[in-house]
Symmetry: C2
Subunit: 202 residues, 2 copies
């Protein structure tokens, strides 16, 4: 998969490592609050050396957002527009989203914090908007086939369900006590069936 090329010349850092450290810093302090000098210091090199590996600060952001968007698109492609009853597909999308979010937590976290200040950010927001629209379509389909309570607006439910999923980035720690599998199961149960015992509308 990942081709390990023979590296010539003086050994040193590589772009992938720079990107990973950059994303972590962006998440910890916020994109704007992290200077290229900060990032260079964290990597243990000078700012000018850093620019040998990366063309600009914004490019780092773009690479991270691309990663998150590619993964999200794959998950939605795999289930949102498929055949068969919508509700099981919705369950699966929610579960897959949780696993994806954990596997690519740094990149996804960054994506969810984009505000649209630059062209790069606006493009990412637009791609995300399209993904959200497809997810909403799946929730609508589940409502139409009668799998959801008919006293709730499917558009709002969709925002809430995936808002819950996305909120994971704010607290979940893959190294913590909660396993990914248990987390995914709990999210599906909470977001769709509800945590209350003997749930009754009204």
């Amino acid at each position: 998969m990942t081709e390990t090329r023979v590296r010539r010349g003086r050994p040193g850092h590589d772009q992938a490592t720079v990107l990973r450290v950059a994303i972590d810093l962006f998440i910890a302090r916020g994109y704007d609050a992290v200077s290229m000098a900060d990032l260079a210091a964290e990597l243990g090199l000078s700012k000018s050396s850093l620019y040998h590996h990366v063309p600009s600060k914004e490019r780092l952001l773009e690479l991270a957002l691309d990663e998150a968007l590619a993964e999200l698109t794959a998950v939605v492609d795999a289930a949102a527009d498929g055949a068969g009853p919508a509700y099981p597909r919705l369950r699966r999308v929610v579960e897959d989203s949780v696993r994806l979010l954990v596997a690519h937590q740094p990149a996804v976290t960054l994506l969810l914090r984009v505000r649209g200040n630059t062209a790069v950010e606006r493009a990412a927001l637009e791609r995300r908007r399209r993904i959200d629209a497809r997810l909403a379509g799946l929730v609508r389909a589940a409502a139409t086939e009668g799998s959801l309570r008919d006293d709730l607006d499917p558009e709002v439910v969709s925002r809430l369900v995936f808002g819950m999923v996305n909120s994971l980035v704010e607290w979940y720690d893959a190294a913590g006590p909660v396993e990914v599998g248990a987390l995914a199961r709990t999210v599906v149960a909470t977001a769709l069936e509800g945590p209350a015992r003997g749930a009754s509308p009204g």
Copy 2:
């Protein structure tokens, strides 16, 4: 309630207006991305005049965070530590949180985006952490009294439920088609009873 003092001297802007415009800008572009010159331009005065109304940029952030935290604390005080069964109190806290979030959406949005870069931000994060802990206690009480499914970790459920509530700030528009009352009802139903019809665990 709000005492309308007689204003002497040359008329002009007041701090409350400055704060409101500042919060809106901070939300739209992010705190770091908004310069005091931007804010001054938005208000129609010079940067130096702006500093007549406000001592620093950080003070603006602090005022906004204080507003959000005061409201959140009031809601939690009103129900989280009260007497009686926990589940109805949990329902009420969720509903009140939604209404609070809509009523103070700008300030709450700002609070939810704080990263802890400065002392002011860290203090706000700490206050918020305490509020979250009390909410988790309420969910735990509901689980202990048997109101919640016992196959789900109450700590995780608490994070998820209030993560869903907090995600409202990312999309809800009070001027849009969804009324606050309908929204609050939908959130309670979705977060606690679940949107699925005939919810069944497993």
